[in-house]
């Protein structure tokens, strides 16, 4: 059911409700209109009944006249013969009228053969009535007067039956309005009965007048007929007409014609009736025979005429009342229809308003939701103040947009942290490089100091040798002491000078060693700084990893870089530990050497003192020759010791020199690591730019609305990018891929700007940026190719230069006003860049891979990570020998 309605658009659904309501409404309307129609039908049938009765009543009036005329003619009355003719023609005309009416509405009033048979009323059918009349006419005066009267009476009875039948089948006796009902009663019951009775009384009076005396029974009959006429006919008719006058205003408004037109005939009827009744009263009161039958005939005829006049007027008024009723019903029907139409209009208006109040918010909120989906978070959301469900929906959308804004804001802030982290990382890398240089400098100066110390030690050694020789000669000379005192003196003097020189040189060694110690301490400080930096890097990398994990799929690439940075930090820490160990070795060795040299200094001083004592002892030489010999032997042994220690010092110096070379190597590695960190940081920056581009889809960054609009990528650009980045464009070097992607995005922006017909200043700004970035990229690419000794470097340089020339000349032509340039240029850019990346740049991939593979045992994980794997085996370009002899290159850089 729900699925069925879900197919119908919301705008159409209320129409379903309307349709559902329309059926009962239409049914109701149908029944109401049917009621009106029935009432109309009813009233029309009544008027038709009157129309049918009119000729019948006329027959009632004419037939007794005809009878009288025929009887008169039979008596031989000449005037009566003329009257018969006139009466016949009247009756013929009336039958013709009745025939027409019967033809027109006989069926409606059920004057059909079948229905009349069922009701056993065949006699009132029009053909039968006319047949009776034709028979009556043809008989003329050939039959007896009694038969004439009977025939006439029979026909009149049939006409009466026809009147009753028409009245019964035309709803007249069911008339619902009191005014027309009473008028009908007077017309169809009261007056015919009165006419009939007057005719009978007149006939009876004529018969009674023929007798010579009035029999008592006849006298009684006069009294009875007078009472019947008065009470049953006249009073009834008068009361009916009066009631119809009284009730008239209550039904369909007061008729303007009823009372005025009835008043005169009504009054005449009453006057005529009064006259006739007073005659009857007189006759019934006296026993004398009927004196003047003509008087009866005259007054009776007057009453009949008055009654027919009243009948005609009443029939006309009855028809008018019915007409008024028909008009009233029609007016009520029209009014009902107008009211229904008005309510339908009102319902339609309410319907339209309700639909509009639902549809409009839905349409606008849908548009807002679309805008949100396309990243426009700043779209104004309408209807949020509305209290209804649309308001709820709008407020929901608003809070959705606000949440999105916050998320984008958070992401932007995270990105800012990331960007500042990468800047910080770059700074750290620079500082690492500076520190490494400092270490290298210090190491060189330490090496020089060690060299000097070594030289000094050698010189001391040779001095010692000489001293030893001199002592030998002293020893020899002691044998010939007395004769060679002068020689001994001079020799001892020389020994003293030499030992003094040895002392001075020892002091120089001490100074050099102390310098060495200070240098080593400074290195220690530097390594502490490096240690601090590496721990900071580690922390940054950890946070970067966490941030990447929080970013989800978008942070995957970033997570790899963060991992590499972490690995680097770990490497740095390890290298620092290594350096610290070596520096400790240097410091231990230096302090050992210092102690040794201190001992040498002591010994040297001792030698000096001994020589001095030799010199002083020479005076008493003669007496202490043996003592001298012993002293000389002691000196000789000491000299040997000194000699040994000197040899040791030289060895220590060599070891220092070796250690220092190790420090130098570590520093070189450091510098390398620093550079790699910087490369990673720039990669990090590239990634940050990419994420920024993703976030840029949402118009939510802190920039002003104007710039925000300009940064919004065109809606159509998302699915149909001019040159989309494809995996096959990857050259396997992360930084170069980032550069190529940036170039593609710039070309795409240029394309979009041209497609949208943006102003020239903006497109030219993009072109300018494109050229600047291309120059920067070529420089970076050439540096990379030089670093990996790529043989195709020269060719690449030439192609790069040519391309820059082409683009620059295109820009100049454009600036000069050549409108065809942008299209051409885009084609050139598209073709050239893709072809260049796939055709040329990819050639250095294998070389780069091999170079990185060669460098693997130098533990340079960044390079390994920078590789994206499937480097093709066939490389049209060739690497230089350095790539094939990676370790050689490394040792060269260390030396």
């Amino acid at each position: 059911m729900d699925a069925l309605f879900a197919r119908v658009r919301i705008a159409r659904r209320p129409l379903l409700i309307v349709a559902a309501l329309m059926f009962p409404l239409a049914g109701l309307l149908h029944f109401i209109l049917g009621g009106f129609s029935d009432d109309l039908q009813f009233a029309r049938l009544e008027s038709q009944g009157i129309r049918y009765e009119r000729p019948l009543v006329r027959l009632l009036q004419l037939l007794p006249e005809h009878q009288r005329a025929v009887l008169g003619k039979a008596r031989g009355d000449a005037a009566a013969a003329a009257m018969v003719e006139r009466s016949r023609s009247d009756l013929d005309a009336t039958f013709a009228t009745l025939g027409e009416v019967d033809q027109a509405i006989g069926t409606t009033l059920h004057f059909t053969e079948l229905e009349l048979q069922q009701q056993r009323q065949e006699a009132v059918r029009f053909p039968r009535l006319r047949q009776s009349w034709e028979d009556l006419k043809s008989q003329g005066t050939t039959v007896s007067p009694g038969a004439i009267a009977d025939r006439h009476a029979g026909l009149i009875a049939d006409v009466r039956s026809a009147i009753a039948y028409a009245r019964d089948h035309s709803n007249l006796i069911l008339d619902p309005d009191l005014d027309s009902f009473y008028l009908m009663d007077a017309t169809l019951a009261g007056l015919p009965s009165l006419q009939d009775r007057v005719a009978r009384i007149t006939d009876f009076a004529r018969e009674a007048a023929a007798a010579s005396t009035l029999e008592p029974s006849n006298q009684v009959r006069f009294a009875v007929e007078a009472a019947r006429l008065r009470e049953m006919d006249l009073d009834r008719t008068v009361a009916a007409v009066q009631s119809s006058f009284d009730e008239d205003p209550a039904f369909n408004g007061e008729s303007r014609t009823l009372r005025p037109s009835l008043a005169d005939p009504f009054q005449q009827l009453r006057t005529a009736a009064t006259g006739f009744l007073s005659l009857l009263d007189r006759q019934s009161a006296s026993a004398s025979p009927v004196a003047a039958p003509d008087e009866f005939v005259r007054l009776g005829e007057a009453l009949r005429t008055a009654s027919f006049a009243l009948w005609n007027v009443s029939a006309v008024e009855l028809e008018r009342l019915l007409e008024a009723r028909i008009e009233g019903i029609a007016a009520r029907r029209t009014r009902a229809l107008v009211i229904v139409a008005a309510f339908l209009l009102l319902a339609g208006f309410v319907f339209w308003g309700v639909i509009r109040s639902i549809l409009q918010p839905i349409r606008q909120l849908t548009a807002v939701a679309h805008a949100l989906a396309h990243g426009d978070l700043t779209a104004d959301i309408p209807f949020t103040k509305r209290p209804d469900e649309m308001g709820h929906l709008a407020r929901g959308l608003e809070s959705l947009a606000r949440t999105l804004l916050e998320v984008v804001g958070d992401l932007t802030r995270g990105l800012q942290t990331l960007t500042s982290s990468s800047v910080e990382l770059t700074a750290v890398a620079s500082r690492t490089a500076t520190g490494a240089n400092l270490v290298a400098d210090k190491a060189t100066s330490v090496a020089a100091a060690a060299e000097e110390a070594s030289a000094n030690a050698s010189s001391v050694a040779s001095g010692m040798e000489e001293a030893a020789n001199n002592l030998s000669s002293v020893a020899a000379a002691t044998e010939e002491m007395s004769s060679t005192v002068g020689e001994i003196a001079s020799n001892s003097e020389r020994a003293r000078v030499i030992s003094e020189r040895a002392t001075t040189q020892t002091a120089a060694i001490v100074a050099a060693m102390e310098q060495l110690g200070r240098a080593a301490q400074e290195i220690g400080k530097v390594t502490e700084t490096i240690n601090h930096i590496s721990s900071q890097t580690n922390l940054l990398a950890l946070n970067a990893t966490i941030e990447a994990a929080r970013a989800g799929a978008a942070g995957k690439g970033f997570a790899v870089v963060a991992n590499e940075i972490k690995e680097l930090a770990r490497q740095t820490a390890r290298a620092t530990e290594d350096i610290k160990g070596r520096i400790n070795g240097v410091q231990t060795s230096a302090s050992g050497a210092l102690a040794d040299i201190g001992k040498i200094a002591g010994v040297t001083r001792e030698v000096g003192e001994i020589v001095t004592s030799i010199a002083t002892a020479i005076e008493q030489q003669t007496t202490v020759t043996r003592e001298v010999a012993g002293h000389v032997a002691a000196a000789s042994a000491t000299m040997k010791d000194v000699s040994d220690r000197l040899a040791q010092t030289v060895a220590v110096s060599h070891s220092i020199a070796h250690d220092i070379s190790g420090v130098s190597a570590g520093a070189g590695e450091f510098r390398q690591a620093g550079e790699n960190v910087r490369a990673s940081a720039s990669g990090l920056g590239g990634l940050a730019d990419q994420i920024k581009a993703v976030i840029g889809r949402f118009h939510a960054s802190g920039s002003s609305p104007a710039t925000r609009k300009s940064q919004t990528p065109p809606r159509a650009a998302a699915p149909g990018v001019f040159i989309p980045w494809k995996e096959e464009y990857s050259v396997g070097v992360v930084t170069m891929d980032a550069h190529h992607q940036k170039l593609l995005s710039l070309i795409n922006r240029l394309h979009d700007a041209l497609q949208k017909g943006e102003n020239t200043t903006r497109t030219q700004a993009i072109l300018k940026e494109l050229i600047a970035y291309t120059e920067y990229h070529f420089e970076a690419e050439e540096t990379l190719m030089a670093k990996i000794d790529f043989s195709g470097l020269a060719a690449q340089k030439k192609v790069h230069g040519d391309f820059l020339g082409v683009v620059a000349s295109a820009r100049d032509r454009w600036l000069a006003g050549d409108g065809s340039v942008p299209g051409e240029l885009l084609k050139t850019l598209q073709g050239w860049l893709v072809q260049h990346i796939v055709g040329m740049d990819k050639h250095y991939t294998p070389c780069f891979l091999r170079h990185a593979a060669g460098a693997r045992d130098t533990k340079c994980p960044l390079k390994q990570a920078a590789l994206k794997g499937n480097g093709s085996a066939h490389a049209p370009g060739h690497c230089g020998k350095a790539a094939d002899h990676g370790p050689d290159r490394r040792s060269r850089s260390l030396s």
């Binding site: 721990s535 950890l542 946070n543 990893t545």
Partner: protein
């Protein structure tokens, strides 16, 4: 190494004394140095102080003290993991942060009732992370106060 379809999470591994613990990085905002901590009077003993982190006030908790493993020994390798609990930034002071480790959720074993002297309810599980066992902390349980824990245990008997 990653099996397609298996759910993994990245945990930051750290040390409290000799034991290695892990927290899902999705729950961590960042890791910072200890910096200047301002002591808070009348705070529970495990609250070491508050710290101003770029304008946000972070309550710093001694995680060892919180897990009843003594107190974090001051040292240059001390770190604070910034997490968020009930919309409020909380700093977890730890001895040392080592690394991030990837954890396959499928290989996460239920923690024993008592692990290195810490109640098992504080853990989401235990698993191999790199070359050692890492106990993955359930931050919600750790940051729940005793009163809340008792209350929740009363509400849901048998699930504690």
């Amino acid at each position: 190494m990653t099996h397609p379809g298996s759910e993994r999470l990245l945990a930051a591994a750290f040390f409290l004394g000799p034991s290695a613990f892990g927290v899902d990085t999705a729950q961590i905002q960042e890791v910072v140095r200890v910096g200047n901590l301002t002591p808070v009077r009348h705070a529970p003993p495990y609250v070491v102080g508050i710290r101003n982190l770029r304008g946000r006030i972070v309550t710093v908790i001694d995680l060892r003290s919180r897990l009843e493993l003594g107190r974090v020994e001051p040292g240059p390798e001390n770190r604070i993991l910034i997490v968020e609990a009930s919309g409020e930034p909380i700093g977890l002071l730890v001895d040392r942060v080592s690394d991030t480790v990837e954890i396959d959720i499928a290989e996460l074993h239920a923690a024993p009732p008592n692990l290195n002297g810490v109640q098992g309810r504080h853990f989401r599980g235990i698993c191999r992370g790199g070359d050692r066992m890492v106990a993955l902390l359930d931050l919600t349980a750790v940051l729940q106060t005793e009163a809340e824990f008792t209350a929740s245990a009363e509400r849901e008997p048998g699930t504690a």
